[in-house]
Symmetry: C2
Amino acid sequence: MKTRTVIFVSDGTGITAETLGNGLLSQFEGIEFHHVRLPFVDTHEKAQHSLERIKAIREHDGARPLLIMTMMDAKISATIRQSDALVLDLFEAFIAPLELELGTRSSHTAGRLHGHSHREYANRIEAMNFALAHDDGISDRKLKNADLILVGVSRSGKTPTCLYLSMQFGLKAANYPLIPEDFERERLPDTLLPYRDKLYGLTIAPEQLQRIRQERKPNSNYAALENCRYEVAAAERMMDRAGITYFDMTARSIEEIAVQLLQAVRKED
Amino acid sequence: MKTRTVIFVSDGTGITAETLGNGLLSQFEGIEFHHVRLPFVDTHEKAQHSLERIKAIREHDGARPLLIMTMMDAKISATIRQSDALVLDLFEAFIAPLELELGTRSSHTAGRLHGHSHREYANRIEAMNFALAHDDGISDRKLKNADLILVGVSRSGKTPTCLYLSMQFGLKAANYPLIPEDFERERLPDTLLPYRDKLYGLTIAPEQLQRIRQERKPNSNYAALENCRYEVAAAERMMDRAGITYFDMTARSIEEIAVQLLQAVRKED
């Protein structure tokens, strides 16, 4: 397999460059990409040092590296551009047309909080703490403060989804497991009844649930395929009856489900 | 303040578009941006529907919206481009030069897992479960499997940092709080001694720690400024003595600290 080095250079964390870069590179099959990160390149000295690193990689590889950049400072950016590399500069490609459209100059400063304000940032941290405090229904005292409450069988993906919602979007997401007692009673836990308008559900194919539970508690009844089938069917029936919108985690990423939940909560379509 | 609408259109979650868009827009001060998300636009019908939405926004605003796009399908992309908007197309701007450089055609398929392979995705979920299971030293049985162990005083930001490291980079990050008993003994908990080479620390300005703790336990000794000063100084002294690299969370985002930790763990510079 062909190998190419891709270098993410940024005056910040480089996470934006890497996120977009991963999406771009996934479009090219049959090539293995070796990742190098050069974050926090925000001084002339660091730029010179990075230039040397890139040069060494170029010589070692015998092929131009791909350089994916988010860099606000034009001078630092110019230094990096001396590299013998394919340079894809995210800011350069878009800042100029935005300046024209908005009729104003950009401030050309490194976005320390990724363009989020301190207020938004504080909200995200608060939401993350909320998700942790309301994981698996441990505390139901403050469910009324939740933006949404996720229900579903054990290991259907509620916890990572809640954490992602809090971290990425600042949503206060609680989760509440549906357990065998609920299935026997054939109705939602009483605790949840006052919050029906902010209940959403997750479901998952029984076969996938079995694999996940099997890793956690091998050869238990909990992990048995038959039990997984029973629980998933009972949970879906319960959610259907209560009119709860639910999403299928099977073959879906947490990011995808999180965005669908965000839209549902915000009543966007 | 001037207001402009920015629309994130994607055949996937749109998270990449929004992340980059936030970074770009943060460069323009004095303008308030109203965000609209149009994710999962992956059929001709959805493209038509989105086109109508964009048209309605254009008419309502009396100004062209900014359209930030990640769209793999050229036909769907062409439909959206009929909008009277400033179109910033992340993939179009970069896919073409990459095809030229790599000498191969891109597969033009929506990256369902954001360019991550299923294997990488499974690693991230596993790492997230690891972080949750090893939060605040609750279980120290498997510390030997950790990629890193974060120490620091209570509320210094260990938990969100560990979760971010797991979710973004698939690192197995455990955390272990430094508590008054440790400060009295003036040395690290014995449990941590075998793992000195993967210990990293967090610290924080006592004033900021006080504000955070005050929200959690108002008017407690735990939250008192004097106690925060004592704990932070004792923790820093302990980490200095043990030769533990530590990072200051004050005025830093979790993303920034996470990338610095990633580099430290991977011995990158």
